[in-house]
């Protein structure tokens, strides 16, 4: 467990925060850390900026994220990592497709490489880390396109050489179901699963024997397509199979 100090903690919107911590880490966009609320849980979190000092950007889902959001500048920040692989370096025309907090991980790429950004959220209020040129989709149409980010993006899919995707599994599944599998672009997808260890030994994040935490989190589209469990079911903390019910979470 590493320890550092919080040097900035900014509220991005009603429940999203960016936290900058005083560490020097050698990380690449797409990598994540396990952050720890002492006495509480340890959870995975993508680096939203992999330069130093690094940042994370997170939504306050529950206990841990809420605890961390209440910390103050100067407080200690505990983590381990970075873990996982990273996005490959893109060339040519590049698109980023982010759903929900998936933008955190994509943001680390945007700080290094250019490209068109497609962002999806439930409502206008859920958006964060926006830039002027982002192409936005909201479920309720309160900002940008009304519909999913997949609906917004797919018509443009053939314009790109590299496509990077990060978002909830059902969103990714929808895209894979509808995308032309013979597309010329290289498509890389960062996955999210329940993670206990983060280092590839507990099996809680595995999909068909592939560990999101260690073999990923970034996979090529072909790899993801080969995973028969992907988008069909996930596992709960007991390792029990739970089928995805609807396309949203």
């Amino acid at each position: 467990m590493l320890h550092s100090r919080i040097i900035e903690l900014n509220k991005e919107n009603k429940d999203v925060f960016t936290l900058k911590f005083d560490s020097t880490i050698a990380a690449m966009p797409g990598q994540f850390i396990m952050i720890w609320a002492p006495g509480g849980k340890e959870i995975p979190m993508s680096l939203s900026d992999t330069s130093n000092p690094p940042t994370i950007t997170f939504r306050t889902f529950g206990e841990t994220t809420k605890t961390i959001a209440k910390l103050k500048v100067g407080d200690r920040f505990f983590y381990r990592g970075p873990y996982g692989n990273s996005y490959p370096v893109p060339t040519g025309r590049v698109a980023y497709v982010a759903g929900g907090t998936g933008l955190a991980s994509i943001n680390a790429m945007l700080l290094k490489y250019r490209g068109d950004v497609y962002v999806g959220a439930r409502t206008k209020e859920d958006l964060f880390l926006l830039r002027n040129d982002f192409k936005i989709a909201t479920d309720d149409g309160s900002a940008g396109f009304k519909g999913t980010v997949i609906d917004l993006f797919l018509p443009h899919v053939n314009e790109y050489d590299y496509i990077f995707v990060c978002g909830p599994e059902p969103m990714v599944k929808t895209m894979l179901d509808r995308i032309d599998r013979k597309i010329k672009a290289k498509v890389y997808i960062s996955l999210e699963r329940l993670m206990k260890c983060g280092v590839g030994i507990c099996d809680s994040c595995s999909i068909n024997g592939v560990r999101v935490c260690k073999d990923g989190t970034v996979f090529s589209m072909e790899e993801v397509l080969s995973l028969s469990e992907f988008g069909v079911y996930k596992r709960n903390e007991a390792g029990k199979i739970e089928f995805f019910v609807n396309g949203k979470r």
Binding site: H3, K41, E42, K196, I201, V210, N236, E237, A238, K240
Partner: protein
């Protein structure tokens, strides 16, 4: 080239390197991956009667000399397990680890496992950090004896007894388990770890199990002690990270070994790495088969050698 096949009871393995219980063996996909990556066999994560979430994170903590864990026996419960593994293609090379708090529980788990076509169980008599099961059961000699004789009376399963090293008298425990087909030695050591700037335990459960390189000297001693006394088939486990480590266990009497924590350091290639290291050693040291190595430092064989 020397043969590295081995036999545990009536189970013949192409090679002696087995995936240990609790590491990358919750999901059927991962077990298949280990077997495809060169493991001679694989043990599942321990399965109990009911679905258990296990402890909240942090459930593992890497330390300089190994790993602390208190996953808390998270498992989907036997019925969900049966569901997932009914059509599993590698039932002969997969040993199902089961745990319980009562004799009947073990028997019922064993029957369900046999019901879908597995033929081997590993009894977790040794998890050091969950109340009422694991080593709390595994320290009760009468109960251990009964669990094993009940399962062997009521099923045709081959039984591997995984014993706890956290005892005063491992030999008596081994003797209480002698109806098992093999001993698995050792499970983790009861241990803990502290983070000094938060002044909190590094595991949510405070106390956990210690594994990895740091426990190897204790595991070797356990294998030696039990082999010397019983001469039975032993599967050595605890800190094995290199093929050299594996050789040490064979020399003290282990007929096969398991690897767990080392996967953290070496990942899936570890199975082939250890296997080819063993093969090489046998060739270079002039042994034609692995079996010729087993236990040569112990008892009569060793005395001849001195």
């Amino acid at each position: 080239m020397a043969s590295i096949s081995t036999k545990i009871g009536r189970f013949s393995l192409e090679n002696p390197v087995i995936l240990a219980s609790g590491i990358l063996d919750e999901t059927s996909g991962s077990i298949l991956r280990s077997l495809k990556s060169g493991a001679g066999a694989a043990v599942t994560k321990s399965i109990g009667t009911e679905e258990r979430k296990g402890y909240q994170t942090p459930v593992i903590s890497e330390i300089g000399t190994g790993l602390l864990n208190a996953v808390g026996l998270s498992n989907p419960g036997i019925d969900n397990f049966v569901e997932e593994y009914r059509n599993f293609p590698e039932k002969k090379r997969t040993i199902v680890s089961i745990f319980g708090g009562k004799v009947e529980e073990f028997v019922s788990l064993a029957r369900k496992v046999e019901g879908i076509g597995f033929d081997k169980v590993e009894l977790n008599l040794s998890c050091p950090h969950v109340k009422g099961v694991g080593s709390e059961v595994g320290q009760d000699l009468g109960m251990v004896e009964e669990i094993i004789s009940e399962i062997s009376g009521k099923t045709n399963l081959q039984i591997w007894a995984k014993l706890t090293p956290n005892v005063t008298d491992l030999i008596s425990l081994a003797k209480a388990s002698e109806k098992a087909d093999a001993y698995v030695l050792i499970n983790t050591l009861r241990a803990t770890g502290v983070e000094i700037y938060s002044r909190k335990f590094v595991l949510s459960n405070t106390v956990g199990g210690y594994s990895g390189p740091g426990v190897k000297p204790v595991a070797l001693r356990a294998v030696y002690d039990v082999y010397k006394e019983t001469g039975k088939d032993i599967i050595g486990v605890g800190g094995i990270t290199t093929w050299q480590d594996a050789i040490e266990f064979f020399l003290l009497g282990a007929k096969a070994i398991q690897v767990g924590t080392a996967i953290l350091y070496e990942d899936y290639p570890i199975f082939n790495k250890i296997n080819s290291g063993i093969r090489d050693y046998l060739d270079k040291e002039g042994f034609s088969k692995l079996d010729d190595l087993v236990g040569v430092m112990v008892g009569d064989a060793a005395f001849k050698n001195h």
